[in-house]
């Protein structure tokens, strides 16, 4: 009898040790996402945060045994919150670039993005070069901002910066700017809502990638997330989620 109890106890202990990190993981990770960025992250009428990013991070969490708490954070403050510990990670359509890599760490890419131009239906703009001298609306600090700044000068008076994509689109619709530049997913989604606008695909725009952001030096979390990401790509759940939001097959993502 004693042997059975002991065995049972040992087994339980062993189980707990094996389940180690997951069981010991009592604190929910705080995830920052700017929920004004459909289809990546947005607020449903039921006040829940939904979107491609949300589904991806939830899938990763499931694979790696993390518990999450998703918090809607305005994009302009999201990095500061990461740095001061209010957030553990950010998944919010953040493009991986060198400038950001100077101050933050990224996981492997989870989405391939291109920039897209939005204009009025009767515009003759065919690509970025046609925008010379025109007024361009972008989201402050976004890749679109980067593209426009590189092409026309970062202090150019023709670049108009706004806090969110809906505001940029509103400005375009109100004729305050001639064109808007933003991430393909979001721009396409927003333009579909407006009868008077259309998108222009400039194939000279390089491909870019979204990554999950963690605080510089947080190697442990980064590794966990990368493991989860690789796992969901391997077993097809990534493809399922991608098809759900973008209605096409996902491209193959680079490993970093």
């Amino acid at each position: 009898m004693i042997n059975l109890t002991r065995a049972a106890l040992l087994a339980t202990l062993g189980f707990m040790v094996a389940a180690g990190p997951s069981a010991a993981q009592t604190r929910a990770l705080v995830v920052g996402s700017s929920a004004t960025y459909p289809p990546f992250a947005y607020e449903t009428p039921a006040k829940e945060i939904a979107g491609f990013d949300v589904d991806i991070i939830k899938a990763i969490a499931q694979k790696t045994g993390l518990t999450l708490k998703i918090v809607n954070t305005p994009f302009t403050g999201v990095f500061a919150s990461l740095n001061n510990g209010d957030l553990d990670l950010i998944i919010s359509g953040v493009t991986i670039n060198d400038r950001r890599r100077q101050s933050y760490d990224f996981t492997a890419p989870y989405f391939e993005a291109r920039q897209l131009i939005a204009v009025h239906r009767n515009s003759t703009v065919k690509g970025l070069q046609d925008l010379t001298g025109k007024k361009i609306g972008v989201v402050t600090g976004s890749t679109g901002d980067d593209v426009a700044s590189r092409a026309f000068g970062k202090t150019s008076a023709n670049i108009r910066r706004f806090d969110t994509t809906p505001l940029v689109i509103a400005e375009l619709a109100g004729y305050g700017v001639d064109a808007a530049i933003g991430d393909n997913g979001v721009i396409a989604y927003r333009v579909a809502e407006q009868k008077d606008l259309k998108t222009v695909d400039d194939l000279t725009f390089p491909k870019e990638y979204f990554g999950i952001v963690v605080k510089q030096g947080n190697a442990a979390l980064r590794k966990t997330l990368n493991t989860g990401l690789a796992a969901i790509q391997a077993d097809g759940s990534y493809a399922t989620i991608y098809r759900k939001w973008f209605k096409t097959e996902p491209p193959v993502l680079p490993k970093q």
Partner: protein, 255 residues
């Protein structure tokens, strides 16, 4: 750019990179502030007097109440009772597109509308919202200032045969103005800082420059500390000017 570190952490180079934006932004902020203070004061004076308007005999008496006093009261209540941020967004994304639109603008349409909207759209909305907002607060300052002047002053002026307007211009307003300088000065300083909100509709002033840098580098200390010091300097300068004004016009008052 090569990182230039001040105190071991402050990356001064990213500010230098965008120095043109900060410089332009500084002048935009100063310009917007001055214009809105002046316009807001004028509007505030008119509305403040409108709130005190009275006529002796009907029908002017009723007309006065409903067409002058009442609209003035509603205007003041609305612009003091709603957040300035909301007013700016409303003005830029709702009101102005109605008025100035290349397609169907009520006030201005066609190509002029497009030009105005693109080059000056945010400026117009911002100045309009700030002026209306300031006007409401300043009108209360004027109203209180005018009412604080002893009735005997008006009586003496009117007894001499001066008209209402003359009594206001020569006797009441000059005295009220002295009393109103401190709260007016406060309002001016508040307006200077409130002008930062117009960056949300894309006006390239100081706060906009900071947002841009923060957006590009995801670093917040450098840009926001920089503009904090710039705003601080501006408000100190403004406060100094107000003090000089108070000093200059304080002579001869019974206080």
């Amino acid at each position: 750019m090569e990182p230039v570190l001040w105190f071991g952490w402050f990356r001064a180079d990213i500010i230098a990179e965008y120095s043109e934006l900060f410089w332009r932004g500084l002048w935009m902020t100063i310009g917007v502030t001055i214009v809105c203070i002046l316009q807001g004061s004028l509007l505030g004076l008119l509305v403040g007097m409108a709130r005190l308007a009275e006529a002796r005999h009907p029908p002017a008496r009723q007309l006065c109440r409903f067409l002058i006093r009442w609209p003035a009261t509603v205007y003041v209540s609305f612009f003091r009772g709603t957040p300035l941020f909301v007013q700016i967004l409303l003005m830029h994304f709702a009101v102005l597109p109605l008025l100035i639109n290349p397609v169907d603008g009520w006030l201005i349409a066609g190509d002029t509308a497009r030009e105005i909207k693109q080059d000056y759209g945010a400026l117009v909305s911002g100045v309009l919202a700030l002026t209306l907002n300031a006007g409401a607060y300043i009108s209360e300052i004027f109203r209180a200032g005018i009412q604080s002047i002893d009735r005997g002053q008006t009586e003496a002026a009117r007894s001499l045969g001066l008209s209402y307007r003359q009594a206001m211009y020569h006797v009441v307003l000059p005295q009220a103005f002295r009393r109103m300088l401190p709260p007016l000065g406060n309002n001016a300083i508040a307006l200077l800082k409130d002008s930062s909100l117009v960056s949300a509709v894309g006006l390239a002033e100081l706060a906009y420059a900071a947002r841009t840098v923060a957006g590009a580098y995801s670093r917040y200390w450098e840009p926001y500390l920089t503009i904090a010091f710039m705003y601080w300097t501006l408000t100190l300068a403004l406060a100094y000017m107000v003090r000089r004004l108070e000093h200059r016009y304080g002579r001869g008052d019974t206080r």
